[in-house]
Every structure is written in C-alpha cells, then in structure tokens.
C-alpha cells in the first residue's frame, strides 16, 4: 500500500509530462505499443511503396519477352527469377502488387461508403431500419463466389467495351467486390447510431435546431468512425484475397495484366520445377494480407476506449 502511494506522484508526474491528449493521439500511442501492428505497418508501407515507386526504380519492363531466359531461378539480374516467357518476375510482382493494392483499397472505399450510408440511415431513421436491415440480411445470405461469377459474366463485356479492357475490368472487379462487402460495415454503423442517437449531446444538438443531416454528419458519424476504420482495414485484406481468387479462376484481369492472382494462376503448372514462379507472388499476397490484418487488430485495440488500461 505504502509503496503504491509513493509510486503515485511519479506516475502523476510522468502523465503530466506527456503532451496534451486527444483521441487520435491516444490511439496512436496504444497502436505503437502493439509490436505486431507496428511490424504490419512497416511491412505494408514497404509493400505499398514498392508497388508505387518500385516500377520507377526497378526499370526492367514487366512485359519484355525473352525466351532465352525463360523460367530461370532468382539471380542478381532477376532477383525473383523469370516467368515462362522470360519476363522479369520482380517487375511483374511489383506491377501486380500495384493492381492488387489498388483494387483492395478502391473496393473497400466503395464498400465502406455504401455500408456507412446504409447503416447510418438504418440506425438514424427508425422507419428505414427494417427494410434496410432486411436488405443487408439478403446480401449477407448471397453466396459470394457464385454471385461474383454471374455478375462478371453479365457485366464484363459491356464494361470492357465502354471503358477499355484494363479500366473496364478494374471497375468491374472493384464494383463487384464493393457491392458484396458493405454489409458488415452497415451493421456496425447502425449499431453505433442506435446507441449514440439517444445520447444527451445529440438531444442537445437537436434542441439547438440542427437538422437530421447535420446531426448525422457532425455529431454521430465522427463518433462511430473507429469500428468502421477497423472493418475497412481488415476489408482491404479480404478484397486483395478476393481479387486474387478471381484472377486465379481466370475471371479477373485479362491474361496480359499481371495481377498477383493471375501470376499465381500462370505459375500453377510450373510448381514442380520452377517454384519461384509461384512463391514470390504468393508471398506478396500473403504479406500484404497478413500485414493488413495485424494493423486492423492493432487499430481495434487502439481505437476502443473501453480497452484502455
């Protein structure tokens, strides 16, 4: 007891020495104490930088065909080896990472926007709650992969026609992943809205004459952001995996666009004698998704005020 009492002033002093606290600063403080999350952040930063800047630093083209060096293992000249047409795998993995990350982030932005809007309306307007939540249930009960296949079959050609082959496929994949992944966010946002909309500060805002739109956007939404942020982060990992699955099934990007899943698909037949062909793109997908999930976990711990010690 006495020892603890002596400790108290020390703690108080160290607390006082800290800079002023805000929610975000607190969260960052907790986040940086989570070793796995920080590792994830570092790995992801490296991968994203590699995908964004890499193709400018590693100037070997991803599409130059040279049969004399086909299926060569890793070497100084080609650190990741070459594929069956003699193209540099490092360049292809960098390019593929760019596509996969771009698809992941864009799809999640779409999913979160949709989910937040639907969740907010369902949570705030009681009349909309039932229909919107049943719609959510309906989407949740859809078998994702078969629906993806049908959607792709229906829309691929028209999108590729109107937007060009690559952009068209990008829009289509982002669209189908986004449209089929907003439900978790919608439920989270609705739950937050239900609990927040009866709070005193919301009542107070209403009494001062704030309209619904302002109450939603300025008072409730900012306070329900943290679970959305966590769901979004983990969703990016899911979207990267879904994109890879689609490309692996031959339904994603055309064969000449080396997304990570497509690279894996091309490599399947060479597993026994050219494993590097599959390992590097596989490893890239693995690291990206793992890093994102660690960051998501770290964010969850950091942003949840009830978990603070």
């Amino acid at each position: 007891m006495a020892a603890a009492e002596q400790e108290l002033p020390k703690i108080a002093a160290s607390v006082a020495a800290r800079p002023a606290r805000s929610l975000w600063r607190d969260a960052w403080f907790t986040f940086t104490r989570d070793r796995l999350a920080v590792t994830g952040l570092v790995v992801l930063t490296i991968m994203v930088l590699g995908a964004l800047v890499g193709p400018y630093l590693w100037t070997q083209p991803a599409t130059a065909i040279d049969f004399t060096i086909a299926l060569k293992g890793p070497s100084l000249e080609h650190p990741f080896g070459t594929d069956d047409l003699g193209r540099d795998m490092l360049a292809r993995v960098l390019f593929g990472g760019r596509i996969s990350i771009a698809v992941g982030i864009t799809a999640v932005v779409l999913a979160v926007t949709l989910g937040t809007a639907i969740g907010a309306f369902a949570g705030y307007f009681g009349r909309l709650d039932n229909p919107l939540m049943r719609l959510t249930d309906l989407f949740l009960s859809l078998p994702v992969l078969p629906v993806l296949l049908v959607l792709i079959y229906l829309f691929r050609e028209s999108l590729q026609r109107s937007l060009g082959s690559e952009i068209g496929t990008f829009v289509m994949i982002v669209g189908v992943i986004g449209v089929l992944n907003w439900m978790a966010v919608a439920r989270l946002v609705r739950a937050e809205f239900l609990s927040l909309k009866r709070r005193d500060f919301v009542e107070a805002a209403r009494c001062t004459g704030a309209r619904d739109g302002r109450i939603i956007s300025r008072h409730i939404l900012p306070n329900s952001l943290s679970p959305v942020l966590v769901a979004a982060t983990i969703g990016v990992g899911g979207a990267v995996i879904t994109e890879s699955t689609l490309s692996f099934l031959g339904l994603g990007f055309p064969p000449d666009v080396p997304s990570l899943g497509r690279l894996l698909f091309d490599a399947t037949n060479y597993l026994d004698f050219a494993p590097h062909f599959a390992i590097f793109p596989g490893l890239a997908i693995f690291l990206i998704v793992l890093a994102i999930n660690f960051i998501g976990d770290g964010l969850r711990d950091a942003l949840d005020p009830r978990r603070k010690i």
């Binding site: 065909i65 069956d84 050609e157 000449d256 597993l271």
Partner: protein, 593 residues
C-alpha cells in the same frame, strides 16, 4: 471476446504460412502412390490376353473441351464430333496414310479399279456391309445413308457438314445394300465429298425423320443418337460427361473390348496431361496442347505412364474478321454485309502477319513434339512459293513501315489511326495456357508497331459452339485463334473461305467461313480446283489458292500441328493406331488393355 477473435486470426495466418510451404513441397510427395498404381495396371494387362467383347471394364477418356452435342452434323467442334464417333459411323475412315479405310459401314472402298467409281468420275457406287443392325436392334439399310444426306443438305437443317451439298446431284439407294452417289460434275475428291471422314456420319432415319429442317436445331435426338458404332449411349450431360455401354448389335462379335467408356469433359489440357502421364487416372487424354516446358518433363519422367499417338493434325491459325463486330450494330453485328472498319485494308492485315512471331510461338510453346512454324493454309500439298513472301517473315520494322506508308499514323496515345479509325483489336480464343501465351507474344509485337490489342478467352466448351456470343462461330471480335484439322484432300479446307460458306444469322452460324471473307476471284479458283481431275493440275491449283489466302492475309497461320501435338494414352492401352485425318477415337473398337 475480441481478443479471442484476434488470436484466432493470427493463428490462421500462421497456419496459412505453413500451408504455403506444404503446397510448395507437395509435388514430390505425390509420386509414390502413383508408382504403385502403375505396377497394378501392368499386372491386369497381362491377365487379359484375348480380347473378348465387353471384358475390359471401363475406359476413361479425358477431353479438356467438353462435348455439348452428339450429332456430328450439328457439331460445334472436334470434341462433339469425337464424342459422337463411338456411336455414329461414316461409310469409311481416313487411314493414317491418307487413304480410305473400310472400317465403317461400307464393305469396300469404291475405286476406279473395282468399278465403284465411274470412269468419268461422276458416279460412285458404295457397297454396304450386309445384315448391319442399329444399336436398338432395327435393320440398317441404304435408306439411312440417303436420309442422312438429305438431312444435312436440307437448307433449314443448317448442318455444319453441308459443305459439299451443292456438288452432288443425287444420292439414291439402288438396293438395301447399295448407295449410288451422282456428282454434278467430274469430281476427283469423290471420297472426301461423300462417305469418308469424320463429318460423314450416318444417322438413323427412323430417329431423325422428324428432325429435318428447322426442327433440327432443338431435336432431342441430337443428345441421344442411335448408331451402328461399337458403343451406344448410356448417359450424356452436355458440357460434362458422356458414358457409353457396349453396343450389343455391333457387327464384330469380339469387339469392343471395353464394357463401358467414359468421356469426361472439361478441366484444362495440363490437368489432362497429368491424368494420363503422372497419376494414370485417365487411359487416354485428347489433344495435349500444353506448354512445352510443362509437357516435356512429364513425357521424359522415368515413371511417366503415358505414350503418345502421333494422331493429331491441326493448323493453329488466326482468323481475320472481315465483318464489323461493333456491338452498336445490334443484330447486324458481324453479319457478312457489314464491312470491317479497318481489317478490310490489306495493309493492316499485312502488318499483322509480318509482325507475328511464328517461330517463337512454335518453338517455345509447342516445341519439337508439338509443331512447326507455318505460314501456308493447307498442309497437303505444301506450297513452297510462300517461303519468300514478306507476310511470312517476322519483321516488325517492315510491318510498321507498311502502316506508316499507308497513312496509319500514331496518335498521342501510341495507337495508329487513319480518318478517325483507330487500330484497336479484340483478339479472342479459347481458354488454354498455350493459347494465352500465344496471345501475349503476338500482342507484345503488335502493340510495338502501333496496334492496341485486347486479349480475351472463353472456355473451350462455350467457345466452340455456334450459340455463345463469345464463341468462334458468331465471332464478335476482330481476330480469333483456333485450330482445325484437314482432309488428305485440300478441297474442303480451301472451300471454307468461299462466299457461300460465310457464317451469318441466316444460316445459324453453322457454316465454315467464320472470317466472312468473300472474293469472287478466290471462288473461281476453288471452283477450278473442284472441276479439275488431273492430280498434278489439282495440286497446282490448290497451291495457287493457298498462296492467294496467304498473300491476302485472309488467315494468319501460326503453327502446323500436324506433326503431333500428341494425344497421350496409358502405356497399358493397346491397339491405338490413330490417324491424323480422323477423329482421335475412330478406331476405338480395336483398343484393348
């Protein structure tokens, strides 16, 4: 609770890492159990020395392109034709040497020597085998042969095999065992035009009598034909599996050896190769169009379970669309009367041909066992004069010059254009690793000289139909790649580029000229070839027609797969003779283990 979930996710991630490692090492581990299976297979082969009907158990055949219809006259591709061949037979087959082989419904091959062919080459008399029965027990007669001809030559039937109908004046049954074919003009290709080969199957009149004309397309008999072949149909799931039982009424009492046959369709060529060569699950795998780097180790492995039948004959080629596939045209899309915006320009086609790296495709993807780079259209006889043509030489710089000199100028986006028309090409083919690699190789070169190329592929099961919008027959693209075989006689192959053969909505896209090319000068050449009877002059005319197609880049040939892209089959399987001019399964009655 949250903590538990996050631990769970971390555990999953670690398990994932472990799985990845296992997958990388798994390949070597797989060899042990299959080695034992091979020993077992050899043992069974030695206890079955005599071939008695139906004693052989099940024969498993893999077709990575799944059959969708079992009527050879409505066949969309080789897969359909082959699957029907176990049931439906022609009068005779093309033997491995390119000569007719009387293994079908005819008792003998009519020739000028035996009096079966008249000296003016206008009348051919086919003697049929006596006392033949259909698999349902009813008697087979010359009437069925006559009916089959009427069936496929009815305009409304829109048969895929109607190519020679215009040449034949009449087909009559002189008596129940004799069929007389009368040509309108002297015809040197009399075997090929009637009776011999994969497209000459004879249907049962009683079963198909109500399926002539417009009723042909949706006729239920297309899915369950009755035939005279060694097997009868047990069940058929279109696009998936066909199973067969022994035909109890088959003419040879000792054949066939296998009690049942299963043709499993779908999957991919690599999987089919593994099933025949590595795991031994399949007794026979058709058309192993597998990248050389993957196929070679499978063939040369010490425990390889497969051998190869040099039975394939196919010209891998790119067909140019002369009709406009623009979707804005709606129903008129790719109809013959819609001119293509830029592929009608010979210079554009020449540039495409001159920058197609045939050698890279043939040598790197197909290799020695798979084929040779090829620029001609017909294989028999082979034109020599095309060797020196610029369209047969790989020279991207010259190709670029052709475009530049003819007003196709590069825009700011790097795509050449003229009068607002951009050289943007949609290039489609069926899903297959070799074909997608070919697409990538050609695309790389074409984009270098100022084309924009979008490559697409669709599953072989839908690509080789005349109904699918992404199929080869409707051809809603600018270029498409596929292969097909040719008869020992070049007439049929050359005839598929004449005006009358153009695919269109009106003929249900069932004709052979999928590129919708039409030039009266070429038609004249083909007609000359057909009316010529002197062999040397015929060869000269065939080569002339071939050279015409090459010079005008009606088709861009890539690889002559006549030297086999092999059909792989189990080392335990015996009696597989194979013929490059025939269905791979034409001699299945002789197969034993």
């Amino acid at each position: 609770m949250d903590q538990a979930v996050s631990h769970y996710r971390r555990a999953l991630a670690i398990m994932g890492a472990a799985l990845l490692l296992v997958a990388a090492c798994g390949q070597q581990a797989g060899t042990t159990p299959t080695a034992t299976a091979s020993v077992a297979a050899t043992a069974t082969a030695s206890v079955a020395p005599t071939a008695a009907r139906g004693t052989g158990g099940n024969l498993t055949i893999l077709y990575w392109q799944a059959p969708t219809i079992l009527n050879p006259h409505q066949a969309g591709g080789t897969k359909d034709n082959d699957a029907s061949r176990l049931i439906i037979e022609p009068l005779a087959s093309w033997g491995p040497d390119g000569k007719p082989l009387a293994n079908g419904l005819a008792a003998e091959i009519p020739t000028t020597q035996n009096g079966g062919v008249s000296s003016d080459l206008k009348t051919v008399t086919w003697k049929l085998r006596p006392n033949l029965k259909w698999s349902d027990g009813s008697a087979f007669s010359a009437d069925d042969v006559v009916f089959s001809w009427q069936y496929r030559c009815d305009k409304g039937t829109a048969a895929t095999t109607a190519i020679y109908c215009e040449d034949i004046a009449s087909v009559t049954a002189k008596d129940p065992n004799t069929v007389v074919v009368t040509f309108k003009a002297p015809t040197a290709n009399y075997w090929g035009e009637f009776g011999v080969g994969p497209s000459e199957g004879v249907l049962q009149k009683a079963q198909f009598a109500n399926c002539v004309g417009a009723a042909a397309k949706d006729c239920p008999a297309n899915q369950k034909p009755i035939g005279t072949g060694p097997y009868k149909l047990a069940s058929f799931k279109a696009g998936d599996v066909v199973t067969y039982d022994v035909n109890p009424n088959y003419r040879d009492p000792n054949k066939p050896f296998f009690k049942t046959v299963t043709i499993k369709g779908g999957g991919d060529a690599e999987g089919a190769a593994r099933a025949a060569c590595q795991t031994g699950e399949a007794d026979y795998s058709w058309n192993l169009q597998v990248p050389l780097a993957v196929l070679q180790p499978m063939i040369s492995a010490a425990d390889s379970k497969c051998q190869f039948a040099a039975t394939y004959n196919a010209l891998e080629r790119i067909t140019v669309n002369f009709a406009n596939p623009d979707p804005a045209l709606g129903d008129k899309r790719s109809e013959p009367d819609q001119k293509h915006p830029f592929l009608g320009d010979i210079n554009v086609r020449r540039a495409l041909a001159m920058s197609a790296n045939r050698a890279a495709v043939a040598e790197q993807l197909y290799g020695k066992p798979g084929g040779e780079p090829y620029c001609n259209v017909i294989v028999f006889p082979r034109s020599k004069s095309t060797d020196s043509l610029d369209v047969c030489k790989y020279d991207p710089a010259a190709a670029e010059k052709v475009l530049q000199d003819n007003g196709w100028v590069k825009g700011s986006d790097g795509i050449r254009a003229k009068g607002g028309v951009k050289l943007v090409i949609n290039y489609q083919t069926s899903t297959n690793a070799v074909r997608q690699k070919t697409q990538e190789i050609l695309k790389a070169d074409w984009e270098k000289i100022g084309f924009k190329v979008n490559i697409t592929n669709s599953s072989a099961t839908t690509f080789f139909t005349n109904t699918a919008p992404d199929g080869y027959a409707k051809f809603y693209a600018d270029l498409e790649e596929f292969a097909s075989s040719q008869d020992p006689d070049p007439t049929g192959f050359l005839q598929q580029y004449i005006c009358d053969e153009r695919n269109a909505k009106a003929n249900n896209w069932n004709k052979n000229n999928v590129g919708r090319f039409c030039d009266p000068a070429y038609d004249t050449l083909v007609n000359q070839l057909k009316s010529e009877t002197d062999p040397a002059k015929r060869d000269a005319l065939a080569i002339q027609a071939n050279d015409y197609l090459v010079k005008n880049v009606v088709v861009i040939s890539l690889v002559n797969r006549t030297a086999p892209t092999p059909n792989g089959y189990s080392k335990a399987l015996k009696g597989v003779q194979g013929s490059p001019f025939e269905s791979s399964l034409y001699d299945i009655a002789n197969w034993t283990k």
